[in-house]
Symmetry: C2
């Protein structure tokens, strides 16, 4: 990381001194991903010049790493020849990713400079819905026939492999492009040259449909340790493959999305530092508003016990502790279940096992918390803060029994709501701490005041 700042320094220096040859040599030794990050930090006026110093293939690889704003800026400055050069070097799935973020006039310009075949493929992929397997696949894969020998396969790979994103998993299809089997380069290398592919190919194939959710597609990589996953259309024809590097991106995106939803934020694809203030505001305010309005109902519960409270104001002092503990307990349960469902560890059919487990965990947690609180109130506070004219022991009993009951209810709500949300087709991640907290707050205050009124004879 320090290294990168030094490098940025050096590049700026060379740029200022117009030592373009040295700059070119320096850039050629770096990784495209690192150049991309550094270009984002450079003043935008020097970007076109810097970009032109990159070798052709490297230029395309760096281009893919840039943010869409920077890409647009560069495209605006490209001559038609330069644009075509970059486009020719890109893998198709990357071109599609870029196009998806560009304004219409730039898209038109890109399509105009693609050859007809590429243009058709781009339009094909653009038709798949966002977040579908089709939208992240690449159509550049190695396609073999079942009567080829191993030697034929190698000849084919050598002839066509240069432009493929991966050559390590090769697909065997019939004349209608229906997927018959797959064979890895490792299998090919370890087999005799005269073997026919039909004999050595794997025919038990795991594949996804173009319309499948990208998250489901990515889960296959995790479970089966694939390097690539075939994507087929409704007629079982092989239309593309998803490569492991794209699956990793999906896994990270989906985790980020879950985390954001759990924190009551509308998810975004953009990195934090690239998101404007107003955009960030828009992602956060709807949930804050909704939760604030819900919380005013909790306030209503307090109002309805106003008489009880005025005869025992000291009870108010326990509200934050009860609300927070309830929220935290429920949040723990909901977040655990949401993540477990994302990872496929917990399924709908487990719901009763989950509830039963949470009830027991909650019981022990509640008892521990209640006991700790009881000791604190009776020994450390010596009943002092708890008193307020009431019997300190009674107040402690009210607070501690509320704690136990709240924790149990909180954990039950926390584990049930995400599963129910999934059942009715909502995203479980929304049922995390903020949402659960709001519900549990109301519950804990209701329990608290009900018990207080009964035990302390107030209100």
């Amino acid at each position: 990381m320090e290294n990168r700042e030094e490098l940025e320094e050096k590049i700026s220096q060379l740029l200022k001194e117009k030592r373009y040859h040295a700059l070119k040599d320096l850039l050629s030794e770096l990784e495209p991903a690192d150049i991309g990050i550094m270009f984002e930090e450079m003043p935008s006026t020097s970007l076109p010049l810097l970009f032109r110093l990159l070798a052709k293939e490297m230029a395309a690889e760096v281009f893919v790493e840039l943010s869409s704003d920077t890409q647009e800026l560069l495209i605006a400055g490209f001559s038609d020849v330069e644009l075509k050069e970059v486009l020719d070097e890109l893998y198709l799935d990357d071109t599609v990713d870029i196009i998806e973020e560009m304004p219409a006039n730039v898209v038109k310009r890109i399509l105009r400079h693609s050859d007809p075949e590429t243009r058709e493929s781009i339009n094909e992929i653009l038709k798949y819905p966002k977040y579908s397997a089709g939208s992240i696949m690449t159509i550049e894969f190695v396609d073999l026939k079942k009567n080829m020998t191993v030697a034929d396969a190698f000849t084919h790979i050598r002839r066509t492999g240069f432009d493929k994103e991966t050559i390590y998993t090769c697909y065997v299809t019939d004349e209608n492009r229906v997927l018959l089997g797959l064979v890895s380069v490792k299998d090919l290398l370890l087999a005799e040259e005269t073997k026919v592919l039909e004999e050595i190919m794997e025919t038990n194939i795991i594949y996804v449909n173009t319309l499948e959710d990208q998250e489901t597609a990515a889960q296959n990589f995790e479970r089966y340790d694939f390097l690539a996953l075939p994507v087929v259309d409704n007629e079982n024809r092989l239309v593309g493959i998803i490569t492991v590097d794209d699956a990793i991106d999906v896994i990270q995106e989906e985790a980020t999305e879950d985390i954001e939803k759990m924190a009551a934020i509308t998810p975004t694809d953009k990195p934090y530092m690239k998101t404007g203030v107003f955009e960030t505001y828009k992602k956060r305010i709807p949930w804050l508003l909704l939760l604030m309005i819900s919380a005013t109902f909790t306030g209503g519960i307090i109002s309805s016990f106003e008489n009880a409270l005025s005869s025992c104001v000291v009870l108010t002092a326990f509200i934050p502790m009860l609300m927070d503990t309830g929220g935290n307990s429920g949040g723990q349960a909901s977040v655990t279940i949401i993540r477990s469902m994302s990872l496929g560890d917990v399924e709908m059919k487990d719901i009763f096992k989950v509830i039963w487990k949470e009830v027991r965990v909650a019981f022990f947690c509640g008892l521990t918390l209640g006991a700790a609180n009881f000791i604190k109130m009776m020994v450390i506070d010596k009943g002092g803060i708890a008193a307020g004219g009431q019997n300190p022991l009674m107040v402690a009993l009210v607070v501690c029994s509320t704690l136990v009951i709240t924790v149990i209810i909180a954990k039950m709500i926390g584990c049930t709501l995400p599963m129910l949300a999934k059942k009715i087709g909502f995203d479980p991640a929304v049922m995390a701490s903020p949402f659960i907290t709001t519900i549990v707050d109301a519950v804990s205050l209701l329990v608290f005041f009900r018990i207080a009124v009964t035990v302390l004879h107030i209100g």
Copy 2:
């Protein structure tokens, strides 16, 4: 998913009818990962039998997928010959993973049945600290020399490749095992057979040290789209490689760990359904206790304003809304920053940019929330619930100005604490909603009562 339950049904049926041949055929068509999941659901008494129906290589692959409890159960039933057969088929990094979870007597038995060379390598890997790059690497990689030709390289790969976890990235080392370069099988396939590796190998290599954090290692896969990453010791000698499938596991583990910490849970490696009630309790109770005790201090703030409260009990009704909104606002900021730091989008040097952005976002959020609340209190409640002998407009002003100030402070605390935690070497993920909420609760109540006392002349 439905499919799997049907399959489990079918397997149980075949098992009951003792149709072992049919069972064997059925199992041979499934993926090891799927068999692993199904075996976990089967009664443990039928597991040894089912396991023996698997072909030798398949058996090892399934074994790796099982939980450590099930592995232990199977090992206990293995004859020495069976144990050796499974061990011989395992990749070394998987053997090490298994050993790490086994009790001492099982470890001894495993080591006794490994050949001396394997035993030495196992002990070597076991020495690396948990969560280090060394602990997740495999030592089975293709090792080439720089004066080999492409044809030599293929001969070498064909001769030794069978036992390697990946052959697609090959490493060129000198006589002291120092890493000189790497060459992919794609490069080899596309190069002329007579070329010498020195001419075609990539010498700008990204690698990690054995002691590097596994998370840092995994981030390289995300950024550079690698299939494997070399791991070197302090003398730059190549000691192993990390493969992309293990990197994916690390990425998922680290995301889960962050999510658990953000929900105030001590992270665990075990899936939810495999964790016992007491174990789950132990992971959750420390944070609940700590946060509960912290929240009692917030209660102390309320107690210290008891006089103000008793002359205006109605203020109590706003406590849940103010606390929740503050907590949610702070949680949004902290979770966004924590995730952005995990993904490398936000670094320490961005701290002032981050704070400045959060202050502006908070200002707009606070204004919106304050305005919404003001309208609700004045128009919908018609000052009713807000009154309690006080001027409703004044009460609304107190509540709304508290909201604005609380949201701004909450977002500032929310974005700053995770970054400061990282600065002093703590895990930023701990500084998420539950922790932030506890601090913000205290702040919001202090602000609330201070403003109330001043504006309403109470207390």
